[in-house]
Subunit: 130 residues, 2 copies
Amino acid sequence: MSNKNRRHTKTQQMVLDYFENTDGAVSHEMVEKSLGDSMNRVTIYRILNRFEEDGIVHKIVGDDGVSYYARCESACDHDHHHDNHIHFRCEKCNSINCLEQSISIDLPKNYQMTNINFLITGICASCNKE
Amino acid sequence: MSNKNRRHTKTQQMVLDYFENTDGAVSHEMVEKSLGDSMNRVTIYRILNRFEEDGIVHKIVGDDGVSYYARCESACDHDHHHDNHIHFRCEKCNSINCLEQSISIDLPKNYQMTNINFLITGICASCNKE
DNA sequence: GTAACTGCAAAATATTTGCATCCTT
DNA sequence: AAGGATGCAAATATTTTGCAGTTAC
């Protein structure tokens, strides 16, 4: 389903590097703030969409309505990037990270699952100190 | 925190009735399609926001980026409408409903939770038959 | 050389705000 | 009558699309 002919470009590599050097999930806004001088905002949209389409990252939509992207774990293949652990979004520092806890899902009969989006919002430990 | 002086109006009652007569969660678009002739789209935005603010409904953000609203269970009070069960969004019929399964959350030390958003996307049983 | 990728402008969507008016209390 | 709620227009975001120019392969 997914593998179009993709090309390796500088811009994409920069975004990949950004993922590599960033803890937790990443939003369009964050990429733009970081790399916006080197590339157009539209390009960022397109790169993020492409990455998701290709299974390189998965998307987590926050209860703030913002889309965050995180590199997929090894387990992800191109058509299934299920992600049955919980993400935590800190309202203060606006980071999204994975919690250890993972969920075993008990879907009712005849239900079929294509995507999981588990998100808890609140204050993370480091922000809670202050 | 929440109780402003609210007034009882026809428009709001219509939206409430719509919730009552609809299974599962409801999006702005659905309300507008249903009641758009009787009220302005902006009014719908404001009513839905107000309802959420007042704890009358809670918001679930789909991985499609769309906000859905569902009437709160009895357990909800004004400041805490935690909703630790899983919602299921059907990509075909675009309904959102609650699954029975609820999740016990095991938050790491010093984490503080303000909101839960558990959503599985896929095909529901009735759509899966066809 | 071909087709993917990018940048810019513009279009399409989605949501919010200002303000005059209407309606609940 | 005071101020919350609504409608309309306009302002803000946010995301997508068209197309020409550029670059990877």
